[in-house]
Each structure stands twice: as structure tokens, then as C-alpha cells.
């Protein structure tokens, strides 16, 4: 599969929402270890709203789906992650021309732009023990796949793996940001909660794409 329709993206994002909602306890615990323990609640709140939105709407272009998801997260979640994960889906879509399909190059562009905007607004960069430590390597992997001409499934699997590795590496980072900041050395050994969420998001996307790789609807609508 080289391209996904807007409706595919919509279905994929519903799967992402389901997976985040199912991970609430895990995310709560991750945030409790070195944060304030509300990350699971917030993500569940946001992605429950996303689920409702996507179930009730249809979309013609990919950017509307992603921006809709982002807007909904920003509006419904609150918290740092409301904006951060909202921007993850919204910022990349803003200012890009609407496209009726998602390809690896478009995905790479989207998430790269989102990453920049998250850094710009939040002031954090890679190594600060935030979700950027998962997002950065995922985006780099997407970029490499884009240049190599990989399939969507291959590209997103690579991104998910890179996100997971980045999350693992975040265990060895001393938090310089957010509520874990003052823990100092004591934040060692724990991954960043937002990085865990980022990995779950990319993993759920990769799995949806893999599972729906040869799906007839996809190929039928995908012929551009």
C-alpha cells in the first residue's frame, strides 16, 4: 500500500483512539512515576472525543482528518499533552495543501512540521525527556523511508520501532522539562509518559496499515 484515502486515515485514527483508551492505566502509571499521574485520564478524554468525532464525520482530504483530530485533542483534553498531541496531528496539516491521499512523503512532511511546532511552542528539544524523544526518531525514520520509497506499512512500522527505541532511551535521560524536572537523578529508569503515548500512537497506526494492507476498499479507493 503506497497511499491511504482520507477514509483510511479516519479508520486508522479510530484504531489509534481505541488503543490509547485501552492503555489508560499504563499511561497513568507512567505519569505517576515521574509526573502528576493524569496523563492516562487526559489521553483517554481526548481520544474518546476523537472517536466520537470520527465516527460521526466523513472526510474528503487527509489534512481535514488529521487537523480535526488535533483540534479535538486541543479542545477536549487540556493539559500539556492536549496541546502537544493536538499539535502532533494539527500543526503538520496546517498550511499544507489538502491531499486526498496520505503517502509516506506526506506523512514525513506532516510529522516533521508538527515536531517543529511542538518544539517551538513548548520550548523542549530532543533529550529533555518529553514525547519529542519518541517523536524525533519516528520522524527521522519516516523521512528515511520517504527517501527510500518504502511502503506505508514499512515506513510506519519503522517509525513505531524508532519511537519505541526513543522511549526506551528516555529512561536514561534526566528530565529537564515538565513535572519530572525537579526529580533530577530520580527520574532515571522511567520512560517519559508522553513518549510512551507517542509509541502507542505510531504502533497502532503501523498495525492498522499492516492489517489493512491488501484491503480491497483501500486499493479500490487508492487508485490515483
Amino acid at each position: 500500500m503506497d497511499r491511504m484515502t482520507a477514509d483510511d486515515v479516519r479508520s486508522m485514527m479510530i484504531a489509534v483512539a481505541d488503543r490509547i483508551i485501552a492503555s489508560e492505566q499504563l499511561l497513568t502509571k507512567a505519569d505517576r512515576d515521574i509526573g502528576d499521574g493524569d496523563h492516562g485520564l487526559g489521553m483517554t478524554r481526548g481520544f474518546t472525543a476523537v472517536r466520537e468525532l470520527l465516527l460521526e464525520n466523513t472526510y474528503d482530504d487527509v489534512q481535514s482528518v488529521l487537523a480535526g483530530v488535533g483540534d479535538t485533542l486541543i479542545t477536549s483534553m487540556g493539559g500539556a499533552s492536549g496541546v502537544v498531541f493536538g499539535l502532533l496531528f494539527r500543526a503538520g496539516a496546517q498550511g499544507l495543501l489538502p491531499s486526498d491521499v496520505l503517502t509516506v512523503p506526506i506523512a514525513a512532511d506532516h510529522f516533521e512540521r508538527s515536531t517543529r511546532e511542538i518544539s517551538r511552542r513548548g520550548g523542549a528539544t530532543i533529550g529533555d525527556k518529553t514525547m519529542l524523544d519518541a517523536l524525533h526518531p519516528a520522524v527521522e525514520s519516516l523521512r528515511r523511508s520517504s527517501e527510500a520509497g518504502d511502503t506505508l506499512a514499512y515506513a510506519f512500522r519503522g517509525a513505531a520501532i524508532a519511537a519505541g527505541e526513543g522511549t526506551d532511551r528516555s529512561k536514561d535521560l534526566v528530565a529537564r522539562f515538565g513535572k519530572a524536572m525537579t526529580l533530577g537523578e530520580r527520574s532515571l529508569g522511567f520512560p517519559d509518559a508522553g513518549a510512551v503515548s507517542t509509541t502507542i500512537i505510531f504502533t497502532a497506526m503501523a498495525e492498522w496499515i499492516t492489517a489493512n494492507n491488501e484491503h480491497p476498499t483501500t486499493s479500490a479507493q487508492g487508485e490515483v
Binding site: 502528576d36 499521574g37 493524569d38 483534553m77 487540556g78 493539559g79 496541546v83 515538565g178 513535572k179
Partner: protein, 333 residues
Amino acid sequence: MRKFINEPRQVARETLEGFLAVYGDRFTQVPGSLAVAKRIPADKVAIVSGGGSGHEPVWLEYIGPGFADAVCQGDIFAAPAPRSIVRAAKAVERGRGILFVYGNYSGDRLNFDLAAEELQAEGHEVLTVRVADDVAAAPPERANDRRGIAGGFFVSKIAGAASEVGLDLKSVQELATLAADRTRSMGVASAGGTIPGTEEPTFVLPDGKMEIGMGMHGEAGVRRADMATADETVDQMVRLIMGDRSLSPDEKACVLVNGLGATTRAELLIIARRTARVLDQAGIRIHDLQVGDFATSQEMHGFSISVFGLTPELQKLYDAPGRTSFFSGANRH
């Protein structure tokens, strides 16, 4: 579940409904958000505060004459979303501009900044003051990274009073910033609270230990220490606070001894007694001493001390009338 709540996810909303059940004569809900606005805001700079809920009376009850004009709650420990903040601000904006006053947390900054941009895009003037009073959160050279804790009370008091006397947005912001710059706080806790709907406390300390510099969400502080007496603990905290910003000889101070939730009133008064004593001994003139639950973290067991160094102008504003559900004026003069 040992809390007296209903559906955990409805706690913030029902808390706000409860607030209105009690104070509804004076305030009104802003439709489509967990925000409350004064019924008849005067023609003045609009002070808008907000942040995650779960810290009551922060920020929900920082509203009133001489305090905020609108306050906007997020879910528990989560900053409010930009749309809610925008609605709250619009409910009280009267053409003189909007001042945001909130705690310096990543989440609050991100959400309030988005809200500010949206309001500015619609032609409103918006300025911001972030409270970053917690000396335990970062060293002085990274003071901008510090989080906001109970000292936000003083910033709110000054912002509200400055706006009430009719100053323009820039001046109100400058005075509130001055108040923020002259406020230092430090917290300590020996047991954590629990977020409604989760079963475990936000942190667990080994028996007989306390965290010095504890943040309002259970974030770690400067160090974990053996539980000491109230007097010893106060002495240490005051030392750390004054070490960060010492008061000049002619400077008067307002002091807040704040309970984090489960701390008994007796403990707070014992702590206030010692705080007043060590400051007196250090030659510092205490203009006012407030004691109570001004900024909590669920039923966390602990307290914070905040010291706010006055200038003559700030003192006038501090002494100006102001009232919230938990404050009705200075205790000493």
C-alpha cells in the same frame, strides 16, 4: 474509592456546580467551559486566571472583588483547553484588555498561549504573568523554569487590586510581574493525595520521610529527608527561601502558610508561629500573615511557606479591599 465524589470524570464539573450553588449570587458560569465569571465586571482590565483543577481553592476560587474577574478550570491536574480560556476571557473583557495570571507549567503555558493568540487574532489585547515562585523547582539562574505554587495568591491579589483601581493593562501587568518577582515559596510534604478515579496516591514516601521542596502535584523537591519537627522544618525552609531572595532591611513582607490538603489547622498554626518567630528574629517586618488552605494538592499532607516582599506601592495594593471565598483581608497590619 474512599473519596466522597460521584463519577470521577465529573469531579471538576460538579465542583464548579457546587461553587455556584454556594456563591451563585456573585458569579455565573461561562457557557461551554468550566469557567466562572463575575456577574457584573466593571470597566477595567480583565484578570483571567486558571489551571488544572484538584488544587481548590486554586484557581476556581481566586475570583472576587479585587481578585480575578474570570477563572477557568481544567480537568484534575490538567490545564484548561484554549477554547475554554478564550470563552472565559471574552465573558469579562470590556475593551481594556486581558491579563492572564497563571502558574508556570508546560501545560498551562501551551494552552494559555494558544488562547492568547486566538484572542489577539480577534483584536483583543492580551498580556500574561506567570507565577514561578517555587524556589525548589530550579536554581536562580533558571528561575523561568520554576513552577508556580501557593505564592500565586499574592500575584492574584496585586493584579486584582491594580486592575480595580483602573490602571491600564501594561501597568497592571507590570505590577503583577513585580509581585511575582518578589514572591518566593517552598513546600514540604510527608504523604501524597490521590487523583479521583485513580486508586493510588501520586507519590509514596517511606515512613518517617518527607520531601523538601515538594511541588503541588507531588513533583519531587530538592531532597528527601528524615521527618523533622515542625520548627526544624520551618527553619530550613525559611533559610532556603531567604537564601534565594533576601529581603532588604526596610522591606516589609507578607507571609502565607499554606496547607496542602490534609494538614490540620493546628499544624498550620504551629508552623505559622515558628515562621513568624524566625522572620521576626531575622529582623523582617511581617506586614501580614495568612494561614490556611490557599492552594492544595488533593489530600496531600504537607505545607508551603510563601514570602512576598512589599514595596510601598505593592503594600497599598495589598491592603486595598479584596475578597474571595477563602480570604477577606489582612490579619495584621
